[in-house]
C-alpha cells in the first residue's frame, strides 16, 4: 500500500467532494424538490390531463437510466443546436431526475395526511392553497423527511456519474490521479472512502432532523 500516494491524493479527492460533489448535489436537490412539489400537485390534480402529464413525467424519469438522462442533456442536446456546459448539464439532469423520484415521495406524504385535516381547515374557512401551505405540507414534510433523506444520499453518490460529462468532482479527481499514477485500486477505494464519509455525516444529520421533527404527531 502506497501510503504517500494515499495521503497526497486524499485532499484533492475531498476537495473534489467539497467543490464538486456536494454543491452539485445540493443545487440539484433544491431545484429537484421544487419541481417535485409541482409534479406531485399535478399528480394529485382532479384535472385528468394535468394528472396524466404528472404521471407521464414520473414514468419517464423512473423508467430511464440516470446516465442516459445525463448524456441526453450533455451530448444529445448539441445535435439539436443546444450546447450546455458540464456543470449546468449535470444540474439540469440531476434536478429533473430528483424531481421524478421525490414527486412520488411528496405525493404519498400529502396523501398520508388524514382527510380530517383538510376538512378542519375547510371549516375554519381556509382556501385549498392556504390549507396546503399551512396545514398539509408541514405535516407531509414530517413524513417525507426519511425517504427524501434517502433520495438525497443516493443523489450524492449518483453525482459521480457527472465525471462522465467532465464535471470535476470527487470521483473525477480520483480518476485523474489514478490515470497518471496507475494505482487504480488504491485511488478508487480512496474515492469510495470519501463518499462513505460524506454519506455517514449526512446520515447523522438525517437522524438529527428526524428527532427534531418528532416534537409533534
Amino acid at each position: 500500500m502506497d501510503w504517500a500516494l494515499f495521503s497526497s491524493s486524499f485532499w484533492p479527492i475531498v476537495r473534489g467532494g467539497l467543490t464538486g460533489t456536494i454543491p452539485l448535489a445540493l443545487a440539484s436537490f433544491a431545484i429537484g424538490l421544487v419541481l417535485a412539489l409541482g409534479i406531485a400537485l399535478m399528480r394529485l390534480s382532479t384535472h385528468p390531463v394535468v394528472s396524466w402529464l404528472g404521471r407521464a413525467y414520473v414514468s419517464l424519469i423512473r423508467g430511464t437510466p440516470l446516465l442516459v438522462q445525463l448524456f441526453v442533456v450533455f451530448y444529445g442536446m448539441p445535435s439539436i443546436g443546444i450546447v450546455i456546459n458540464p456543470w449546468p448539464s449535470a444540474i439540469i439532469a440531476f434536478s429533473l431526475n430528483v424531481g421524478g423520484y421525490a414527486a412520488e415521495v411528496i405525493r404519498a406524504a400529502i396523501l398520508s395526511v388524514p382527510t380530517g385535516q383538510w376538512e378542519a381547515a375547510y371549516t375554519i374557512g381556509m382556501p385549498r392553497v392556504t390549507t396546503l401551505r399551512r396545514i398539509v405540507l408541514p405535516q407531509a414534510a414530517r413524513v417525507s423527511v426519511p425517504p427524501l433523506s434517502n433520495t438525497f444520499i443516493s443523489l450524492v453518490k449518483d453525482t459521480s456519474l457527472a465525471s462522465l460529462i467532465l464535471v470535476t468532482e470527487a470521483f473525477r479527481e480520483a480518476q485523474n490521479i489514478a490515470a497518471f499514477s496507475n494505482e487504480f485500486m488504491l485511488l478508487y477505494l480512496e474515492a469510495a472512502l470519501v463518499y462513505w464519509l460524506i454519506c455517514t455525516v449526512l446520515s447523522f444529520g438525517q437522524t438529527r432532523i428526524e428527532r427534531r421533527l418528532e416534537r409533534y404527531v
Binding site: P114, G116, Q117, E119, A120, A121, Y122, T123, I124, G125, M126, T130, R134, I135, P138, Q139, R142, R215, Y216, V217
Partner: protein, 253 residues
C-alpha cells in the same frame, strides 16, 4: 319564539346509488339547541356536514337568515358554499386539531389566516376563550400532549374563535374515555346557556334532555320523529324510536 336562523327543506344526499338522506327538513332558531339522534348509518353526520358545506346535498334548499340561500337542485356556486361555511363551525368526533400547531396556534389559525385579524388581537381573544374552558395554561402545548377531553375542548374553542352563528357538533364525546365525557358536555352546556345556537349529534341522552330544545330522531335518512326531549324520550310515538331508545338505555337486552 326567537327568530329563525336556519331553514333546511327536503335535503337529499346520495353517494352513488345509496341515498343516505331522503328529504330532511330542519329549522333552527337563534339560541336553540337541536339534538340529532338515530342509529348508526342513519345519516346524522351527513346531515350535519351538509349544513357546513362539507357535503353538497343532491337536492333540497338551505336558507340562513342573512344569507346565503342555496338550492341544491342546481349546481351551487363556490361563493355560496363558502358563505355557508363561514356562518357555521364544526366540532368533529375526532377533534381534527392540527398536530403541528400548539393549542394557541390552532385557535388563532382561522382568525389570523382567513379573517385577517391582527395576531395580537386574535391571541388575546383566543386566550380568553381558552380561559373559559379551563385550558389557558395549555396554550403552548401540542395537541398530542393533551387528554382526549382537553383536545375536544380545544376543538370547541377553535370553532368559537371564528364567531360563527351556528355551532355543529358531531358526536363530540363518543371517542372519549367515559370519565372525560363530563368535562366536554359541561362546556357545551355552558355554551348553550350563553345562548349559542347549536346542532348536536349525540348519544348522550341525559345531555340532550337537559340542554336540547328539540330532539330529532333520524332513521334511514328521514326524520322519523321530532319533539321536545321530555316528550320524545318518555313517550315516543314511533315503534322505531322506542326500539332505538330502549337499545341505548339497555344495551344488554
Amino acid at each position: 319564539m326567537s327568530e329563525a336562523l336556519l331553514a333546511a327543506r327536503g335535503i337529499r344526499k346520495s353517494f352513488g346509488e345509496h341515498e343516505v338522506l331522503r328529504g330532511v327538513d330542519l329549522d333552527v332558531r337563534r339560541g336553540q339547541v337541536i339534538a340529532l339522534i338515530g342509529p348508526s348509518g342513519s345519516g346524522k353526520t351527513t346531515l350535519l356536514r351538509s349544513l357546513n358545506g362539507l357535503e353538497t346535498p343532491s337536492a333540497g334548499t338551505l336558507e340562513l337568515d342573512g344569507g346565503p340561500s342555496l338550492d341544491f337542485a342546481r349546481p351551487v356556486p363556490k361563493a355560496q358554499r363558502f358563505a355557508l361555511r363561514d356562518r357555521s363551525a364544526m366540532v368533529f368526533q375526532h377533534h381534527n386539531l392540527f398536530p403541528h400547531l400548539t393549542v394557541l396556534q390552532n385557535v388563532v389559525e382561522g382568525p389570523v389566516q382567513v379573517r385577517r385579524v391582527p395576531r395580537a388581537e386574535a391571541e388575546a381573544r383566543a386566550l380568553g376563550l381558552l380561559e373559559r374552558v379551563g385550558l389557558a395554561d395549555k396554550r403552548d402545548a401540542y395537541p398530542r400532549q393533551l387528554s382526549g377531553g382537553q383536545q375536544q375542548r380545544v376543538g370547541i374553542v377553535r370553532a368559537l374563535a371564528l364567531g360563527p352563528d351556528l355551532l355543529l357538533f358531531d358526536e363530540p364525546t363518543s371517542a372519549l374515555d367515559p370519565e372525560l365525557v363530563g368535562e366536554v358536555l359541561t362546556v357545551m352546556k355552558e355554551l348553550a346557556d350563553e345562548g349559542w345556537t347549536m346542532v348536536v349529534v349525540t348519544h348522550e341522552l341525559s345531555f340532550a334532555r337537559a340542554v336540547a330544545n328539540e330532539v330529532l330522531f333520524l332513521d334511514g335518512g328521514v326524520v322519523l320523529e321530532r319533539g321536545a326531549p321530555r316528550d320524545l324520550f318518555t313517550d315516543p310515538q314511533q315503534e322505531r324510536t322506542r326500539q332505538f331508545l330502549h337499545r341505548i338505555l339497555n344495551p344488554l337486552d
